[in-house]
Amino acid sequence: MSKQTEIRLTGSGGQGIILAGIILAEAAIGEGNNAIQSQSYGPEARGGASKAEVIISSNEIHFPKVQEPNYLLALTQVAADKYLAEVNEECVVIVDSAINVPSTVKAKKIISIPILKTAAEDVGKSIVGNIVAVGAITEITGVVSRAAVETALLNRVPKGTEDLNKTALEAGYKLALNR
């Protein structure tokens, strides 16, 4: 991998968007690549529109912010409304299926999958929606390996929640494969 991959993850505060970014970045450095994770946020700890960014490259990464995302994840309508307008024709958009994507969005591809519903109903905990998303992104982007993501995930999640999180991750893989 020589080219830089830029991923923008968006949702609302409290959804674990930043943790999702951290797991992807840690998976990347676990495989010997460079990665930068950053975020922008407002004053609210919960709600609002939350944004996390991940840049992964085999080369040195200079500018730490995503300029033109190769991938954009949106988990809420508010976040989608805010960030979908900024994507270009090269960007693959991944949205939760509850989100209404305006026809004006000019993306390379729009992948609509039931991330939050899968977390809540199939995995059984809506709190792991972010991890389902990480699984889907891993599968769709191929920018990090499944093994690296699993290692990164297990290093980050609280003790006792490993199985739940692994189930969520695998549900994410499946969502991406069966779309």
Partner: protein, 377 residues
């Protein structure tokens, strides 16, 4: 993955660097976007027998940190914009009383409460001139997470070596982003410890021994009972109104910096050898500048970067030489024009100095820097 390779925030790396350097005392007050430095210090300091205290305000934060330093502990405080303003009086105290101390300012959008969660590089001049009166200043600015670690170690080393507060000017971008960092092994980086009084010799608290750079510092409680004051004092440490003495003491303090520029000044040059235009930047903005340079070179425009790592003292000699080499110097910084004035002062018209910057909470982008370069060429 080596266990020393981690994904880490700049603010966390600052604390890791501080502990590597031997920090054993931290006092501060929570403020965005520097709070992680306090949180991490609170978590880790007691595990190494050190002390952390959250004080009642920013002024108390630096005051307690100075108190800690006087007992012989390597001491740090961290803050952001408004807190940096509040700390100014005691920064001057630490300068005149010659207290080794590290002051971190994770810069955010100002003035006043401004934009607490947004980046800025707005305290470049405040770091130099914020406290009243003439005084020596050492300030460093990292642009990566690893460099935050390294420069925190260096800030402690310089503080100890020169017996003066050293400022680390980071910003919201470098402070909050997570990046790959390889933590150095113990012993890999040099650690400097302050020189203590020579046993059996009469201790002159503010007298410089032959061959020493600064007065040796006795810890309170070590048996040397002496006086520390923010008033001008003579070699004994006691206040003196003598103009002759004040002139002598201030001159000695200023010379700590002025006579050691080679030891203090660090910078990086990126693709400058064959460049036709010089971008001058520092901190997080220098990262945007590097990306801009890569993009400009793809378009056939040979741009290069001078990145100041030591902000104060200013790399005057090198910048003068750059002005001879280049027709154009483009200063890229996240403010409406601060460091650019220092560049202009030194360049004295030998090159055209332009400025690209903003102060609206957004980052300075590679596209904006590249556009400025094209405009001036």
């Amino acid at each position: 993955m080596s266990k020393n390779i981690k994904l880490m925030q700049g603010n966390e790396a600052c604390v890791e660097g501080a502990l590597y350097a031997g920090m054993r005392f931290y006092a501060g007050y929570p403020i965005t976007p520097s709070t992680e430095i306090a949180e991490k210090s609170a978590e880790l300091l007691p595990t190494v027998g050190g002390k952390f205290i959250q004080m009642e305000d920013e002024i108390a934060g630096i005051a307690a940190a100075i108190g800690g330093a006087l007992t012989g502990k390597k001491s740090m405080t961290a803050t952001s914009g408004p807190g940096f303003s509040l700390k100014q009086e005691n920064i001057g105290y630490a300068m005149i009383a010659e207290i080794p101390l590290v002051i971190v300012n994770v810069q955010r959008g100002g003035p006043s409460t401004g934009l607490p969660t947004a980046p800025a590089q707005g305290e470049i001049m405040q770091a130099k001139w914020g406290t009243h009166g003439d005084h020596p200043v050492i300030a460093l600015s990292p642009s990566t997470v690893r460099e935050t670690f390294d420069l925190t170690v260096r800030a402690f080393n310089l503080a100890e070596k020169y017996r003066t507060p050293v400022m680390l000017l980071t910003d919201e971008i470098v402070g909050h982003m997570r990046e790959k960092i390889e933590i150095p092994e113990p012993g890999e980086l040099e650690i400097y410890n302050r020189l203590e009084p020579v046993e059996g010799e009469t201790y002159i608290p503010y007298g410089v021994r032959e061959g020493d750079l600064v007065p040796r510092m006795a810890a309170f409680g070590s048996g040397h009972r002496y006086h520390v004051t923010g008033l001008f004092h003579d070699e004994t440490g006691f206040p003196s109104n003598s103009t002759e003495n004040a002139g002598f003491m201030l001159d000695r303090m200023m010379k700590k910096v002025e006579d050691n520029l080679d030891d203090l000044i660090e910078y990086e040059e990126y693709m400058l050898d064959d460049a036709e235009v010089c971008i001058f930047s520092y901190g997080s903005s220098a990262r945007a500048a590097k990306t801009a340079i890569d993009q400009l070179r793809e378009e056939g425009i040979k741009a290069g970067l001078f990145r100041a790592i030591t902000i104060w003292p200013f790399a005057e000699k090198r910048v003068k030489a750059l002005a001879e080499q280049f027709d154009n110097i483009v200063v890229a910084e996240l403010n409406l024009g601060q460091y650019v004035y220092e560049v202009e002062r030194v360049v004295k018209g030998a090159a055209k100095v332009s400025h690209v910057g903003k102060a609206n909470g957004d980052v300075l982008t590679p596209a904006e820097i590249a556009a400025k370069v094209k405009e001036v060429l």
